[in-house]
């Protein structure tokens, strides 16, 4: 119950938030530009993590592994878009949900088939292990700070990409009017593949980075996927700005809730009960947050379009 703990947990929350942002930005872009709900986004997260773990293990270099992971996720994303996803753009959301649910089954079982059921181990490179001392005598893992840094860098890069480049202009045009960009002579099919692969690469990056923190296993993308859904529902589907804000909000609220709610209940309850009540409530906290936000803003904080 100290400032140290608070700073540490705030940083943890921001770190979770930045990783959620990597997931959510891809989801929200794909929805905003193509109008597609993609459950298989969590599979790209997993693909990125597995590829990174495998390549890191064989080359001994985390950075090469990371590059391989992102590339693999982008390639798989592009392939999936070409084979399956592009048949779904004009289908009802129900079809999109089911087809991408089918993709999850295929990816998860396929990965289990190739790599087995036991988790792979992936650890951060030695030059990223260790701690830094922050003001207030907080010792904080370097690797987690790096994750925050990567997340911030990607957010800035995405902002520049969308506001300053030709690709970004096309993405924005696609978000505001899908028919129009066809009329502008943009090759829509190619644009969609690129956007989808970009989203997949970001998900793969997140999977690889988080995989080094936790473990690399089948199904690792699913809890993150659902958190990412909560993020984009809160932020407003289609809005990158909303995804960033929603991700940080969810990351911080979730992390702080898990630490402080049990402590809070301990002030007037026996410890064992307080832990139970506190942790159950903490598990529900972000969903309650989502419900409250939706009660006032049914389209999320920054609704871009529907």
């Amino acid at each position: 119950m100290s400032v140290t703990l608070l700073i540490e947990q705030l940083l943890n929350g921001v770190q979770l938030g930045t990783m959620l942002f990597l997931m959510a930005s891809g989801l929200t872009l794909v929805f905003g530009v193509m109008g597609l709900i993609n459950l298989a986004h969590g599979s790209f997260y997993m693909v990125g993590a597995y590829a990174t773990a495998a390549v890191t293990a064989s080359t001994g270099s985390f950075l090469i592994g990371l590059a391989a992971g992102m590339t693999a996720a982008a390639l798989v994303g592009a392939l999936v878009e070409l084979i399956v996803i592009r048949r779904l753009y004009h289908r009802p959301h129900l079809d999109q949900v089911l087809a991408t649910f089918a993709l999850i089954l295929i990816f998860s079982e396929g990965t289990r088939w190739i790599f087995g059921s036991s988790p792979l181990w992936l650890s951060p490179p030695s030059w990223l292990t260790g701690f830094v001392t922050l003001p207030g005598d907080t010792r904080y893992p370097v690797y987690r700070l790096v994750l925050i840094g990567v997340g911030v860098a990607i957010a800035i890069a995405l902002y520049l990409l969308i506001s300053r480049t030709r690709l970004g202009m096309r993405i924005r045009a696609g978000e505001s009017d899908r028919e129009m960009i066809g009329a502008l002579g943009v090759n829509i099919a190619k644009l969609y593949t690129v956007v989808f692969a970009l989203g997949a690469a970001l998900a793969g990056l997140a999977g690889a980075l988080v995989g080094a923190l936790q473990s690399v296993q089948v199904g690792m993308g699913e809890p993150v996927l659902i958190l990412a859904f909560v993020v984009i529902v809160i932020g407003g589907i289609g809005s990158i700005k909303g995804a960033l804000l929603g991700a940080l909000l969810v990351g911080v609220v979730d992390t702080l809730g898990r630490v402080y709610l049990p402590l809070f209940f301990q002030t007037f309850m026996p410890p064992s009960e307080a832990t139970g009540v506190g942790s159950s409530l903490a598990a529900m906290l972000i969903y309650i947050l989502m419900a409250v936000i939706l009660a006032f803003k049914p389209k999320g904080l920054f609704a871009a379009n529907d």
């Binding site: 089918a102 993709l103 659902i226 942790s279 159950s280 529907d306």
Partner: protein, 351 residues
């Protein structure tokens, strides 16, 4: 003038309906006949395993009947029906737990004891699932499209994590039901719910009632309004009916049916755990509805038969059977939009 006009003629265009009636009716009769006769035969041959398998098919079909009311008839793509299935299961489990322990479920503000009576459990499951669906539906139905899908998913996930971290009833490990909940005794204990065949027949009756209810509902004024809400909600409002309460009530009924199935499922397995609440199960229920044929009365049953058969027989061959389920599902979604019943019995809904 009006009296001479055949007003009461079937509203569906007769030309389409009649040519399929025989084939459709035949397929439905065969499906029901097999579902009823195979377990009876298995029971008398001493293969209790297959009787329980049939109960499983029946219960999952019933859960899917509930979901089909929301998705197929109401156009509400709920990705969170596991919440009701699981809640129904937990009602059975928690009630049995307290009856077994002889402790009250709650003692304040008034005392609620546990119960091992199936009738009490079913009633409680239906009522509680309806209340949960009322709360979730009231918020979710303010939105449409992708938002609705994601929000129903998120709320179900909330219940899932709650069950996972609430230690009283087993948390992640789940809760066993040591003795199956019972029916009131009639005469010489004719209805022994722990007998596999009796329990199957209970489940079968439940499924038939759920299907009859759906069928009747969809022919009523409420059904007409719900159909219109699915097809064109602006038209419904312009005709003077607010779509929101119609959808909400349908959502609640849908959840109650799925919840009752959940209670039956927990008693069948003698066990309830958070996996009944997981989003995978919500997805599987949707898969069943789609495999069978969305918005068709017999679709959920056909889908459940197919799903459990794949799970049992493919699952017996390979550990990775879900890979093949995924491929089949992908094929159905991309190429065969009307599901198994559409393929077997011809198109029903002229959309």
């Amino acid at each position: 003038m009006i009296n001479t006009t055949p007003l009461s003629k079937n509203a569906a265009p007769a030309t389409h309906a009649e040519s399929h009636f025989d084939r459709k009716g035949l397929v439905q009769m065969i499906l029901l006949g097999l579902l009823l006769l195979l377990p009876v035969a298995a029971y008398f041959l001493g293969h209790t395993y297959y009787v329980n398998l049939a109960s499983r098919v029946t219960i999952i079909a019933m859960a899917a009947v509930g979901l089909n009311l929301a998705i197929g008839y109401g156009g509400m793509v709920s990705f969170g029906h596991a919440a009701y299935f699981g809640l129904g299961g937990y009602v059975a489990g928690i009630s049995a737990y307290h009856a077994f322990d002889m402790t009250p479920f709650m003692s304040w503000p008034f005392s609620v004891p546990g119960s091992d009576s199936l009738l009490v459990v079913w009633l409680a499951a239906v009522v509680l699932c309806a209340l949960l669906a009322l709360a979730i539906g009231a918020i979710s139905l303010r939105t449409t499209g992708v938002y609705f899908i994601m929000i129903t998913l998120a709320f179900a996930q909330m219940i899932y994590y709650f069950a996972n971290s609430w230690p009283t009833y087993g948390g992640q490990d789940g809760l066993p039901i040591y003795i199956r909940n019972t029916l009131p005794q009639v005469g010489n204990n004719l209805l022994d719910s722990s007998d596999a065949l009796t329990y199957f027949l209970i489940c079968f009756t439940g499924l038939m009632l759920a299907m009859a209810l759906t069928s009747r509902l969809m022919k009523s004024r409420f059904g007409a309004a719900l159909t219109m809400a699915r097809l064109n909600d602006v038209r419904l409002a312009t005709a003077g009916v607010s779509p929101y309460p119609i959808r909400l009530v349908a959502f609640v009924i849908s959840a109650a049916i799925t919840g009752l199935a959940g209670a039956l499922y927990a008693d069948l397995n003698g066990f309830v755990s958070p996996s009944m609440l997981s989003w995978h199960f919500s997805g599987e229920l949707m898969v069943i509805v789609i495999l069978g044929g969305v918005g068709r009365l017999y679709g959920p049953l056909a889908g459940a038969v197919l799903f459990v058969m794949m799970e049992t027989f493919l699952g017996g061959i390979t550990e990775y059977w879900q890979l093949f389920l995924g491929l089949v599902l992908l094929g159905v979604v991309l190429f065969a939009k009307h599901g198994v019943m559409g393929w077997l019995a011809g198109s029903e809904r002229n959309e």
